[in-house]
Symmetry: C2
Subunit: 296 residues, 2 copies
């Protein structure tokens, strides 16, 4: 399968924006080692799918992408925080991430815990200090961010994952991943809508369906790649899901059926996007195809 | 020294409010074990100094205390999150907190990390869903919360503590504690001002001086109690600062001088409060005296 084109122009905008972010204020230089650990993990590259989704969604509703860079960056800070905590010895105990030592391997476990904590706090602080928008729209955006990353979102999903307490069967698997990864991907699409002028209920619902399906697609492909990908492309040893006894679409349905489910999910996501944006969302279409065809 | 009266009526209001807080929404019942861990640590008792400061400050500026319960609760959620992460094996490795096993001892290290992460997210979500106030005032309050708990506040202070990277001398010690504990105590006084009608620059500055001095007083007394307190009263083994090689007011100045510094700081805090509230702040006076005279 050919890998689809990625909106690299948007990714480069995100990358430049992230590179110039600093967190330590004048007078607090003693904490610059913490900032080093945060930036080490934040600037490890990657496709920046969540912030690129923010900018692509902004374009789909006719908003300038630049205006959404603060909330886009906040989503990547939060994603990075979740990876740092997921990699900790008490969690998945991973040594490598994107081909480099994980944060706790490079800076120690205590600093890694605090780097994650710090990234989450600074994500909120960045939105609060840099994001333009009507106060009520910024509040709605922050509420989406807090909900998507709390007990009923990312942190709850991670709990289901590490304690293996998700309900049995396909519905349980879907809930686990909807919380753990899907909610943050969803927030990447909903936050720019809340900030922009397209926050009408009907549009929101259509985009919400797209966001939810895109989250599912992302996870099925992720689970397939953990089995079929190369260490080199993934930047970490493949097969780690099986080693950790994780519930995945492959462990639940087998590889062949997981591939069919990915194809279904890709079709559903494209249909939901057509419903939401009626053909005016080139970059979101590209990202959807890319997520389906990616190899890492 | 006689222990001063504490505003127990405000503490009881806080306690009842915290007891009825739940986090898991319908449909996410699978994550209820995470909520159990969060509530285990949240409802372990204590003086609730931060939320009581919120309510006392509300009264000092003529606002109904009830109106500030959501932000008060958020500060206690955040304080609890910081204790859970501080107690982790990679940090201070404490087994006991308030006379009970620490969160990671009771629920496992992975769940404890996530309980902390979850409490922090839910603190923001609670303010965003339950706190009344003008949108711009709520935004200012959230900005204070994020700054006080981020790299330039609590998390930065904890980094200086666990990595022993605070600058040498009294100024470095003061910075360490101003960030680690002082900023959150300060936020407990500033957030109700930002939400209330007293957000005038002059009032804010006077209260800011009070908040800063109260944070210093709290820490000096804390350091003294770690040496002179009983295990029973503290709910954990005393002498843990020395065992961990922590920099404290006692290690830096000796016990006798630390006591003098506490007396100075108490006097300064009372003077700053008089400046800020001109005698109309009974509960804040009580808390200031209590913090100075407490034995646990």
């Amino acid at each position: 399968m050919r890998i689809s084109r990625y909106p690299d122009e948007l990714r480069e905008q995100v990358e430049s924006y992230l590179e110039q972010l600093t967190f330590v204020q004048p007078g607090i230089e003693a904490a610059s080692g913490l900032q080093d650990a945060m930036r080490y993990s934040l600037l490890a590259g990657g496709k920046r799918i969540r912030p690129v989704l923010v900018l692509a969604t902004a374009r789909a509703i006719g908003e300038p992408a630049e205006r959404m860079l603060p909330i886009a960056a906040a989503l990547e800070l939060i994603h990075t925080y979740s990876l740092i905590h997921d990699d900790l010895p008490a969690m998945d105990d991973d040594d490598l991430r994107r081909g480099r030592p994980t944060c706790h391997k490079a800076f120690g476990e205590n600093v890694a815990i605090l780097a994650g904590d710090g990234l989450y706090a600074e994500a909120f602080r960045h939105v609060l200090s840099a994001q333009e928008g009507e106060p009520s729209a910024v509040l709605a955006t922050l509420a989406e961010l807090a909900t998507a990353t709390g007990v009923n979102g990312m942190v709850g999903g991670q709990y289901l994952d590490v304690t293996a307490t998700a309900p049995d069967g396909a519905a349980g698997l879907r809930q686990l991943h909807a919380l753990k990864t899907g909610r943050l991907i969803g927030a990447s699409i909903l936050c720019p809508l809340l900030l922009g002028s397209a926050g009408r209920p009907a549009t929101m619902d259509a985009f919400r369906s797209f966001a939810s399906e895109l989250g599912v697609l992302f996870q099925i492909v992720d689970d397939i790649l953990d089995v079929t990908g190369t260490d080199d492309a993934l930047g970490k040893p493949h097969g780690s899901d099986e080693r950790l006894g994780k519930r995945t679409y492959v462990s639940e349905f087998g590889l062949a059926r997981a591939r069919e489910l990915a194809a279904d999910s890709h079709r559903n996501a494209r249909a939901a996007l057509e419903q939401a944006a009626a053909g005016g969302a080139d970059e979101l279409e590209q990202i959807t195809d890319f997520i389906y065809t990616r190899t890492s």
